[in-house]
């Protein structure tokens, strides 16, 4: 077992728990930086996409995993980010500025929805985001030449100083940097008062209020930030797929994002990465499974949603802490071997925890 001896309060709010952990991440970072120069084009592309899902997942994790709110329409914010970015580019706004503006625009839309929906309980946000996603999809479809309508449009490629944006290595680096910056900002936020306020709201709204936390203000802030980050992921995604049309971002994308945070592990930053890896690999897994199944099932349209839904249910019931939670248990098992007790992580079964004050 590893014991960490603390000699200063600063150690408690470092981004890393101890030097070994930090060094491990440094090694990982070096590997990721070297990767595009040794890997094949296909894998570079896959990794870039993984990074984009990580960014989108970071946005939703902030909302679901750290503030305890559910959005069923996060794909709409990806769509807003993607379209804003591409349309701004069309009107000559350069890429680094347009992506930031796209994030701000998504965030602003999130702010408006949040102001309306977050005065009541969390269910209101879930339904309002669902409605919002539907409206966004509809209006993008009816947007004529401005949004490309139902037929959509091609995303123009860019060239700055002789570098092409759609060059896999360049795009990979952009995605990696954006992801690192996003994770760094979120990590900072979570070790500061605002992040603690979010977590407080997640764990007990009643208590959070008694601690002087303005529920509406912090929930709205969390939702706006979440929408902004997800919008940024959408902006990058537009360049990844190279072609935009309204059906790129549907309720199915929203559910996929929810699955990312649940399966990865609610309330953990590692969970974002695990979850993103999971949803990136899932289509391949489904394709593999499809071959093994009898034809009358494998040819049905419903197989993919069925698998998605079942995995979501299974994780929520059997491993609510997700892949990351499982990983922590396995690690503890080996570090305490043979002293590990199964009851360490036993969940306390209780009566329903109510947010009503009795």
């Amino acid at each position: 077992m590893l014991f960490v001896f603390k000699t200063a309060y600063e150690q408690d709010f470092g981004l890393f728990k101890h030097a070994i952990q930090r060094n491990c991440y440094l090694v990982l970072l070096v590997l990721l930086v070297v990767a595009p120069f040794v890997l094949e084009r296909f894998y570079i592309g896959e990794l870039s996409e993984l990074f984009i899902w990580c960014i989108a997942g970071t946005g939703l994790m902030l909302l679901v995993g750290y503030t305890g709110l559910v959005s069923l329409g996060h794909a709409a914010f990806m769509a807003l980010g993607a379209y804003t970015n591409v349309i701004l580019n069309k009107y000559g706004v350069p890429f680094p500025i347009s992506i930031i503006l796209a994030a701000f625009f998504s965030g602003a839309c999130g702010l408006v929805i949040g102001v309306a929906a977050l005065r009541m309980t969390g269910i209101y946000l879930a339904v309002a985001t669902l409605a919002f996603a539907y409206i966004v999809e509809k209006f993008i479809g009816q947007g004529g030449s401005f949004t490309g309508g139902h037929r959509g449009f091609r995303v123009e490629n860019f060239e700055y100083f002789g570098v092409y944006l759609n060059d896999p290595v360049v795009f990979y680096i952009i995605c990696l940097i954006t992801l690192l910056v996003t994770l760094w900002l979120l990590g900072n936020l979570l070790r500061s008062p605002t992040g603690r306020a979010f977590v407080a709201i997640r764990d007990s709204e009643i208590s959070a209020q008694a601690m002087g936390i303005d529920l509406v203000r912090y929930k709205t802030l969390s939702f706006a930030l979440s929408a902004g980050i997800t919008g940024m992921a959408g902006a990058l995604y537009a360049y990844k797929i190279g072609y935009l049309y309204p059906e790129t971002f549907t309720i199915f994308t929203s559910i996929k994002l929810l699955m990312l945070v649940v399966v990865g592990g609610l309330g953990s930053m590692h969970g974002i990465v695990f979850g993103a890896m999971f949803i990136s690999l899932l289509p391949q897994i489904i394709a593999l499974v499809r071959d093994l199944l009898p034809i009358w099932i494998s040819q049905r349209r419903g197989l993919e949603p069925f698998v998605f839904g079942s995995i979501l249910i299974a994780f929520l019931i059997f491993e609510p802490k997700g892949i990351y939670g499982r990983w922590v248990k396995i690690r503890l098992f080996f570090s305490q071997f043979p002293m590990y007790r199964k009851s360490t992580f036993k969940r306390q079964k209780s009566f329903l925890r109510t947010e009503r004050v009795h």
């Binding site: 309306a116 005065r119 309980t121 269910i123 949603p305 109510t354």
Partner: protein, 288 residues
């Protein structure tokens, strides 16, 4: 198409939204769980009715109680098997679970019955009556009448039966209800049964009018919108909200073709800005 027809259709559709909304308000009040799969439970009810009537060729007076009974048992089984392990988990986890459940139910229905639309034929299908110059289809009439009867039944149930009163108590405070000797688990289970039965009744009434297909479950989304517009947590509010949504949808769809559904959602967002506690504000607004 004249306005009176739009209003009639709007009210009839609204009753259906309202009944589905009623189902999850019931569950919410009893357990504080939000069942996003309520629409899909209704969809399943419609398919059961279709199977009993068209495939097994049972008479209609058996189809109706049969469907309701099967769905009530299904609702209870669902609670026992999937939702009970979630007691004590945070509300957003339950919400996500039921979303997953909706996907699974839709996929299962698609696998069993396929994706081609079906229709339920009833003894009263196709009939029309003229009241004060307004053309009323029997189907719509049955929906409105049936909704009224169901609401009256539920009112009596909660007011006068032992189990109804116990359900109310459990919805106030589960732990306290447990202490005074109310079998909370059984009450919750029955609540799920009743809510699924209400969904089945809605399915029976709407199946002759709408196509039966797995996507039918998406009506649950509009039912949710209805519940919020009506004032979440209020049973009459769910119904009123449903009718409001039904009407908005028809009228907007008439004014701007193709935007009926969008109109309903925009209406929800506007409502949240203007009066977030809903038309009938029973749920105390969280102090902010």
């Amino acid at each position: 198409m004249d306005i009176s027809q739009l209003v009639v259709t709007g009210i009839a559709n609204g009753c259906v939204y309202g009944l589905v909304a009623l189902g999850f308000v019931l569950i919410y009040k009893a357990t504080e769980m939000v069942n996003f799969a309520q629409g899909d439970i209704m969809m399943l009810g419609a398919f059961i009715a279709f199977t009993l009537s068209s495939q097994l060729e049972m008479p209609y007076y058996i189809v109706v109680p049969g469907t309701i009974l099967i769905m009530a048992v299904f609702g209870m089984a669902l609670e026992r098997g999937v939702l009970r392990p979630m007691i004590g988990e945070p509300p957003f986890a339950v919400l996500m679970l039921t979303i997953g459940l909706g996907f699974v139910l839709r996929a299962i229905a698609g696998t069993i019955w396929g994706h081609q639309p079906n229709q339920l034929i009833t003894p009263y299908s196709g009939g029309v009556i003229d009241i004060a110059g307004i053309r009323l289809d029997y189907e719509k009439l049955v929906i409105m009448g049936g909704t009224g009867v169901l609401c009256a039944l539920m009112f009596l149930f909660f007011k006068f039966t032992r189990i109804g009163v116990a359900m109310q108590a459990a919805s106030q405070n589960q732990l306290a209800a447990y202490y005074v000797g109310i079998p909370v688990n059984r009450v919750v289970s029955i609540t799920w049964g009743i809510s699924a039965a209400v969904a089945a009744a809605a399915a029976l009434m709407v199946a002759p009018l709408w196509w039966i297909e797995p996507g039918l479950g998406l009506v649950g989304i509009k039912a949710f919108v209805a519940a919020i517009v009506g004032g979440f947590g209020s049973l009459p509010g769910a119904l009123i909200g449903g009718i409001a949504i039904g009407l908005v949808e028809q009228l907007v769809g008439y004014t701007i073709p193709g935007f009926g559904e969008t109109g309903a959602y925009v209406f929800l967002l506007l409502m949240l800005f203007i009066r977030p506690e809903g038309i009938l504000a029973t749920m105390q607004r969280k102090k902010v």
